[in-house]
Subunit: 309 residues, 2 copies
């Protein structure tokens, strides 16, 4: 596996982000009721790394350079689901956050009721986007499979289920911190952030026509990136500065949150990251794809771990 | 058009409700995380008329007695979407209701955070149910079409958009009551409750293989039932007793809510109901289906208006 040069990677990321931003603007151009769409646009079009969309598009690109367009609607749908999870997570009933990416959170601008409903509308729009916008070149049963897996990644078995587990771990359900084990924490992360990241690489590969064995490899690669991203976040909360992290460090400690680093310590967390980096690179190498084709995925894995983009 | 006898109708409703309840129990038998599924089950399996599921199944039945099974997953998905809308509507950020169908609302039992997340999970499970459980006899492009229309009925163009309009009408957005016109009120109802009821009859017909002209007639029939149901609700709030209404009368007046009856008066509302009843019956008569086949739909329309079941 080779990673792309820093220059190539930046060019690639910029070009793919532009495609995603333009298409998201198009999908979110609705106007009735105006205030609802404004609230939806505020959160989806308000910046963000687009890591999930990039993973989806880079997976499709890796398998077939002509498959990009087939995966764009799905990549946008993933960003909608991600954005809605942040809107609902930020609500007073959950994390009660006032700031997100340096801007007031959705409910601070639009009120709690609209934030709640904008999240609901985005969840539905994501499914609509996959079902309606995926080009006709993609077989109808593949479209169904992708929409179904997106629902699974978002729902009780995935992201939403993980949010519930996370609540239990942060004292909201009065569960003593001491009872949270590494296995429980990993299960929570696998659902809360991992399921959608896993879906990102899997769906890109599926839409590009990957066979069963490559689909498994791409899905596992997504799991690796997801877990690496989470551990890096936890590490940065302890060791990083606000600029790299994009939020205030020390928040996990202050909110008595179970994190990878609190459970395993900094050294073991760094060792786990190194293992994940090796596993991810091995998955790409053994995919049978040209190393040039998978170089952007390799760079996205490195980005998840080193945040150097 | 003939309506079924009261006895036939009761038997029919009981048999279809049993199918729906059993299948909903099956679809909602998940257990991880346990408390999330409990919260989902609490609201979906906690009673209710199942009007929307009955409309979907009766539409399928009317077109083809063998099509029932094809429509059952969709009928259940509709009830999931309906239940999630009630959970989110009842939250303090929206209507702040403590009671629903005589029981504490979801957030009163499980807390606001879980109620919010259970609603999200149900919205996703509805889409999953249509995509995964619709029998293979149904063409894959029809499954996509039905899942897509369900998303539209639930989202910004439908139910969620209607909830936002309703908020604007009840003073939450500080809009003066006087500015609410009949057209605005009808648009709100068409979205908030109408879109899902319209989808119920349309999807039953679509899954049973209806042609374009019958599809249009069934969709319009659903619109008629939806509006009639809403006007009846508004009338009962003024004239009815709590037993028929299933909730405390006089609540609309107390909450300064724009309703059909407040805008048009009792007499005009009754006249509109009579018009809708005629239009609905005419749609069934002109469908070219045997009157026996559409009798249950006729009875459901009468039920929506007279609440005599």
């Amino acid at each position: 596996m080779v990673a792309a040069t820093s220059f190539e990677f930046k060019e690639y990321v910029a070009s793919r982000r532009e495609i995603v931003e333009n298409r998201l603007r198009e999908y979110l151009s609705g106007s009735e009721p105006e205030v609802l769409w404004e609230s939806m646009r505020y959160s989806v079009l308000g910046g963000g790394k687009r890591l999930r969309a990039l993973l989806c598009l880079a997976s499709a690109d890796a398998l077939n350079p002509d498959a990009l367009e087939l995966a764009v609607p799905c990549a946008c749908a993933i960003e909608m689901v991600h954005a809605m999870s942040l809107i609902h997570d930020d609500l007073p009933a959950l994390d009660n956050d006032d700031l997100r990416r340096g801007r007031p959170t959705n409910h601070k601008v639009f009120g709690e009721a609209l934030a709640l409903l904008a999240g609901d509308a985005l969840l539905v729009l994501a499914s609509e986007t996959v079902l309606e916008q995926t080009p006709a070149d993609v077989g109808r049963s593949v479209v169904i499979e992708v929409a179904l897996e997106l629902a699974r990644a978002a729902g009780a078995a995935g992201m939403v289920g993980g949010q519930v587990e996370d609540m239990a771990f942060t004292g909201l359900a009065k569960r003593p911190q001491e009872l949270v084990t590494g296995a429980m924490l990993e299960s929570m992360h696998r659902r809360k952030t991992g399921a959608l990241i896993r879906f990102s690489t899997w769906s890109g590969a599926r839409l590009a026509g990957a066979d069963e064995s490559r689909l498994r490899a791409f899905a596992r690669f997504g799991e690796v990136v997801g877990l690496a991203f989470q551990i890096t976040d936890d590490l940065l909360d302890v060791t990083g500065d606000a600029k790299v992290l994009g939020k205030t460090p020390g928040k996990d400690e202050a909110s008595d949150k179970a994190t990878w680093v609190r459970l395993h310590g900094v050294d073991q967390s760094r060792a786990k990251l190194a293992d994940l980096e090796s596993e991810g690179k091995a998955l790409l190498s053994s995919s049978g794809l040209l190393s040039g084709a998978t170089s952007m995925l390799g760079s996205l894995l490195e980005y998840a771990i080193h945040r150097l983009s």
